[in-house]
Symmetry: C2
Subunit: 373 residues, 2 copies
């Protein structure tokens, strides 16, 4: 009985629907397996050892994280092949050294200075991936400039502690695409840019480079994953309102919802005020008619939650308050003290803000932030 579960909820609480999340995991596992591509899911989305087990049950053995703190946590929970897909932070050298002695640790580099500092400090072998920019322009060496990449690789190859794995990109520009077709095209252009760079490195005597790519929109929507060796999507495990709006997933595939107490009702403007603000959902925003919004409102039900239509949105977030604008038939069902759900704009940030989940079966699930690890 979900009524008992909801009865326990006093504050904003991140509900996770295990069956939806596991269906998403199975779909991505199957696609990668069918194309003989290594699936190294990004665990920054869920950040949880418990949820990591849902992946392990499907045969996943290699993972991606976005910080050394997360790598440390998942290493403690039995993961032995972890890539930190973030430009190496030299100030955490002690952690890097410790982890490299314990697990197969993958690091991401783009700066000669970092390669030299690692070479000097490390005693155990690490995997090294070179970060390549295929259009996002956040980090990485330009895919169109093989000479700079070759120089970095020459430096890497001088040090026997480094196992050079290959070229890695994050085609995050898909998050700003205007259509599903554009996402597919961006994905293809990104892996082709990596493959082209690998070709262009041959004259420098560099071969045997693996290619790693990984963003949820591209990996989920593109049926043919291309000539890559590894994919690293993360968000697909839960999806969110942003992925719904981009056309990547259906609302029924979103596997997390924030259950929030209703604290005020304003019938004159069909607005409900919830206990559930920027500190719970994050300020990451979507756009509608040029105005920000922060996710879709959903109704809690015996099955979990139910989408109520695209017109039911979180239109404002302050520190602890959320303001929902609702359609009349949705608004009229609410009273102060009820719970209502929100599909977060960006599930990764909502998970990080909350640091824990409540499953629809009533299990409290912790993350690396709530475990104290």
């Amino acid at each position: 009985m979900k009524a008992d579960l909801y009865q326990r909820i006093e504050k904003p609480t991140l509900l996770v629907d295990e069956s939806k999340a596991c269906a998403n995991i199975r779909k991505m596992v199957a696609k990668a397996a069918a194309q003989k591509i290594r699936f190294r899911p990004h665990f920054k989305t869920h950040q949880s050892a418990r949820i990591g087990e849902w992946f392990r049950a499907e045969g996943v053995t290699a993972i991606t994280v976005s910080s050394l703190s997360m790598a440390d946590y998942f290493a403690k929970h039995g993961w032995g092949d972890i890539l930190v897909a973030f430009p190496v932070n030299l100030r955490e050298m002690d952690t890097i050294r410790r982890l490299s002695e314990k697990i197969r640790l993958g690091l991401l580099v783009e700066a000669l200075h970092s390669v030299r500092a690692l070479a000097e400090a490390l005693e155990s072998q690490v995997d090294i991936w070179v970060k390549i920019d295929t259009g996002l322009h956040r980090t990485g060496l330009d895919a169109a400039q093989p000479r700079a990449v070759a120089e970095l690789i020459a430096e890497i190859q001088q040090h026997p502690k480094f196992r050079l794995r290959g070229l890695l990109t994050h085609a995050g520009q898909t998050y700003h695409a205007g259509s599903v077709q554009e996402i597919r095209d961006l994905y293809t252009r990104s892996w082709q840019a990596l493959a082209g760079l690998r070709e262009a490195l041959h004259p420098y005597g560099i071969g045997e480079m693996q290619l790693s790519i990984g963003d949820t929109p591209g990996c989920w929507l593109r049926e043919e994953l291309g000539q890559v060796d590894e994919i690293r999507p993360g968000n697909f495990v839960f999806f969110d309102s942003m992925m719904v709006d981009l056309g990547v997933c259906s609302v029924d595939e979103v596997a997390v919802a924030m259950a929030c107490p209703v604290v005020a009702l304003h019938p004159e403007r069909n607005e409900a005020v919830i206990y559930g603000g920027a500190v719970h959902l994050s300020k990451d925003a979507l756009q509608n008619d040029g105005r920000n919004f922060y996710g879709y409102a959903v109704l809690l039900t015996e099955q979990g939650w139910q989408f109520a239509g695209h017109e039911n949105r979180v239109i404002g977030l302050s520190q602890e308050h959320g303001v929902l604008r609702l359609e009349t038939d949705v608004f009229s069902r609410l009273k102060v003290g009820d719970l209502i759900g929100v599909l977060p704009a960006h599930s990764c940030l909502a998970v990080d803000a909350q640091g824990k989940y409540l499953s629809l079966e009533g299990e409290e699930i912790f993350t690396y932030l709530s475990s104290g690890a």
Copy 2:
């Protein structure tokens, strides 16, 4: 020696300059005292028992918080007069009951339903404030509709457990003002709307209503605080890039900065990539030429930090990455592995995201989130 302090920093770390924060506190305390107005600072900004002591040292005895969790924490740390300036969350009735037996607890109401539910559940007396909307349109009863307010108050007055204190507003529209003069005008219009409502309630037999107002821009910039009994600003203790941009404070008054490791440098576009993302700074944004940015970059110095000019900004934030666009003379001083500072766009959210501070004297300072309370 600050060099030793900075040497210890491996990850994004929120630095707090106690001397700047205490100067801000003293300025606000003095202004309220000179006008015989009760100063009930909002502790949602700093969320810390330790920093609360800086206020107590200046004679502050009554505080504001934005959740019952925070009220619980500060009650445990010796605060005996706490107002929860958030529409009462009926799902936390057990906490309300427990706190009402222990401290002078203030609650905020706007719904008849909530008043009745409280009357039924409570055993000890609580202070009650009526939330009034003076233009923000987030929560509260319309200041221009005394009849609805009178109805609510009539209900409150039926129950001896309620000590009716008065009318409360949050003039948060000052955060969106176009000029310092507009902020001052909005502040004045807000307290005048409260005072006008108090007048309009006289025919209903309602008198003796205190007026409580509180937003940092208005309370900081307005010299004459008007005919109010209480102010509740919070952000002024630290300020942030948003308050700098609004013209509320000078950059030298900002008392927190996030120290972040530099992980990549892109000289072709004068961009530095830092370990310091949305999960550290929050996604709250400022605007420049129609584009979002997330705070000003500052240089760490022997004194703490130094503003480097308005052209040095965080132009992008993803989960763990920040991208800084810097002027050439600032950019050219950096190397990978260095630290750089960021004045958060919104300090309240950065504090909540971090859950702790490092003082410039090297003291770790915890909040209600990191204390486990």
